[in-house]
Symmetry: C2
Subunit: 216 residues, 2 copies
């Protein structure tokens, strides 16, 4: 019985391309495709696949939210994240959710095959570039932890706010939208900037896009 996988990516060409690559392996079979997060969650609800390969930046429901829901539906569901970027905060979230596969789009296509086989056996598979810095982080946290300012990840609320900013909302509009005071919105914004180590709106927007918090 082949390993059954579901492909979720908003670009049909990428999806079919991946499908073509995967189909060259006789022990792996693509049983369904989805073009957004909601679709793939629906598929997870109505069928049983072994592996869900999910692009991190998708409309309607982003890849991580979708993965989270899919794994809640059944602990048997295994997810591999496809991502354009090797962003630390993103990987932290993915690993925190219990995702075991994380493949970069600029890596070779056979990595996705390796990832499918590994995750199917309940092992981790991270693209080399990612595992490198996960290991490095581990080493760093073991070593001198005196006075190290940890790179914090954003809170839920902060993620909500950075999304609105990236979508073009002003602070005032963010405040109105979330029914909080302008001062609170500003406070969140400043906290985000501190965490990201910047003081520019442009960087917030770039970060949000990079993270898939919002789409272009």
């Amino acid at each position: 019985m082949p390993i059954e996988v579901v492909l979720a990516d908003d670009h049909a060409i990428v999806r079919q391309g991946l499908g073509a690559v995967i189909s060259q392996e006789h022990d792996i079979k693509v049983i369904a495709e989805a073009s957004n997060g909601k679709e793939v969650v629906d598929i997870a609800r109505n069928s049983s696949a072994d592996i869900f390969i999910i692009d991190i930046t998708m409309p309607v429901l982003n890849g991580l939210e979708a993965s989270s829901q899919i794994m809640q539906i059944s602990p048997e569901n295994k997810v591999i994240i496809l991502s354009m970027h090797d962003n630390r905060a993103f990987i932290e979230r993915a690993l925190g959710l219990g995702i075991k596969g994380y493949v970069l789009k600029d890596s070779a296509a056979d990595e996705i095959i390796q990832a499918i086989r590994a995750v199917y056996k309940n092992e981790y598979f991270l693209s080399p570039r990612i595992s490198n810095f996960v290991i490095q982080d581990y080493i760093d946290s073991r070593g001198k932890k005196i006075g190290e300012k940890k790179i914090m990840s954003l809170t839920e609320r902060e993620r909500e706010i950075i999304q609105l900013i990236a979508e073009g909302y002003t602070n005032k509009e963010v405040a109105t939208h979330l029914k909080i005071s302008l001062k609170t919105a500003l406070a969140h914004r400043n906290n985000i900037m501190q965490k990201l180590g910047t003081h520019r709106q442009a960087d917030l927007i770039r970060y949000a896009l990079k993270e898939g918090i919002t789409t272009i």
Copy 2:
């Protein structure tokens, strides 16, 4: 003799996926791949391919600049643009450069095959969503052209400036970098905003990313 194509996309997985799809056609053959604009231009200089399939957002040299150079190397070189977005200004530029193929990434994979065959025969191939509004634009410009404010495309200088803004430069920094006065930088910025019909920095950044003027 098969149609020889070159693939240029910064994501290896996308590239190999496309390659897999194309290889299913016996009359088309991928003879080279590139992961950025500069690479594909080098390939064009040192070999003779029939079709260059070029992703519009690539590092080092973006897809349109690369295409322009490739077509200058030889008028025999034919280009198909692969793009994530159906952005008007982008398509205008591509068609203006003499590019005959424009395929959206969210369309079906066989469109790229159709595009290869059409462009090889020197015909146009645009994804349906694009050709629709190209035709619509044609109709609109035929009709009432009284008092129509045309959506202008950005000038070279404006594109240069929006790129810097999107990369996080402040107006002051843009002025210094380009050796112009702050006032000139502001004037350009305001012109850009008027052309794009917005008054927000966030929109400039999103536009620049969408257009592939800069990358995340």
